[in-house]
């Protein structure tokens, strides 16, 4: 259970569940719109060269996030 990390610490092929979203305003709204809700499962697809951005798969869609944004997503690794 005590396996909480920020999303930017994970590696490709890792799967995790969103535990907390540490942001508010426009950014959190956009992520909510994209289906980033607490309890949602996602998978890391890859890091771009020089590691930014980060591509994840969530609810059947591929979405790219900046590392700065991924840092604010607390997840539990599966």
């Amino acid at each position: 259970m005590e396996n909480k990390l920020s999303l930017d610490c994970l590696k490709p092929k890792d799967r995790c569940i969103i535990k907390e979203i540490l942001m508010n305003g426009a950014l959190s709204q956009r992520l909510l719109d994209m289906g980033f809700l607490r309890g949602t499962q996602l998978e890391i697809i890859r890091n771009a060269p020089f590691s930014d951005p980060l591509e994840v798969k969530i609810r059947g869609s591929h979405i790219s996030l900046r590392h700065d944004e991924a840092k604010l997503l607390v997840v539990e690794k599966l």
Partner: protein, 243 residues
């Protein structure tokens, strides 16, 4: 009968709004700039059973908050021009992401019809949607279409006509609309804010529940709308103090 109706096409980017717009209106559309902003609002016209339908093609948005320009435009058109019907163009292959938008439209208090687009793409991905069950659950009319192949467009026009006529005759939609339950704590605050807002007569054209929810979300435009009458802090202090 020669009636005139206005309908608005809304939905997320890439759901096929403009494709459906062209399928509905043919080549008779023109492009107009919406005043004050750079985002375009396209309108077009079609005739169906002697009635004239003006279609507004809104910019694609992921939700209806005040955070981005296109969302403010889409929202302003829905609130200010009060179309008879709002058609939510939905990507059938990505329902879970689309549904939150449907609920935002319903919360806004407008009459909504769902055009379930790209059902062929969904099927190819192994997604089969039970349209009748979907309609029953959500309490809205759902019309499956394949806009780029012109399939389902006539049925859609038929359903649009029916919904507009019901609106004309002040009939309520056939089934009970679904509302989001935000849980007992939130609901009691929403109810109290609604009560306060109901005393402000010039807000009555809007859904008070929607205003209350947006107010709690710190929506800037809604705050400004309300603050003309009463400042945010005093409302919140009152609502939270009562709790």
């Amino acid at each position: 009968m020669n009636l005139k109706f206005t309908i608005a096409l809304t939905g997320q980017p890439n759901a096929g709004k403009s494709t459906l717009f062209n399928a509905l209106t043919g080549s008779r559309q023109f492009i107009a700039n919406y005043p004050g902003v750079t985002v375009e609002k396209k309108t077009g016209v079609y005739k169906f059973q002697d009635d004239k339908y003006t279609v507004i093609d809104l910019p694609g948005t992921y939700s209806l908050t005040a955070y981005s320009l296109e969302e403010r435009v889409a929202r302003a058109v829905i609130l200010d021009e009060k179309p008879h019907l709002v058609v939510h163009v939905m990507d059938a292959s990505n329902l879970s992401r689309s549904l939150s938008f449907t609920f935002q439209l319903m919360e806004l208090g407008c009459r909504v019809l769902i055009a379930l687009n790209m059902i062929d793409v969904a099927k190819a991905r192994g997604i089969n949607i039970d349209v009748e069950a979907f309609e029953r659950k959500i309490g809205l009319k759902v019309v499956p279409v394949i806009a780029n192949k012109n399939k389902g467009v006539d049925q859609l026009k038929q359903q649009i006509a029916q919904a507009c006529c019901e609106k004309q005759n002040q009939k309520s939609p056939p089934s009970e609309k679904m509302t989001i339950d935000y849980g007992p704590q939130m609901e009691s605050v929403i109810e109290q804010i609604e009560k306060t807002l109901s005393q402000m007569e010039d807000l009555h054209a809007l859904s008070l529940r929607w205003l209350a929810v947006k107010f709690l979300e710190n929506d800037r435009e809604v705050e400004e709308l309300i603050s003309g009458k009463k400042c945010r802090n005093s409302i919140l202090a009152k609502e939270l103090g009562d709790n």
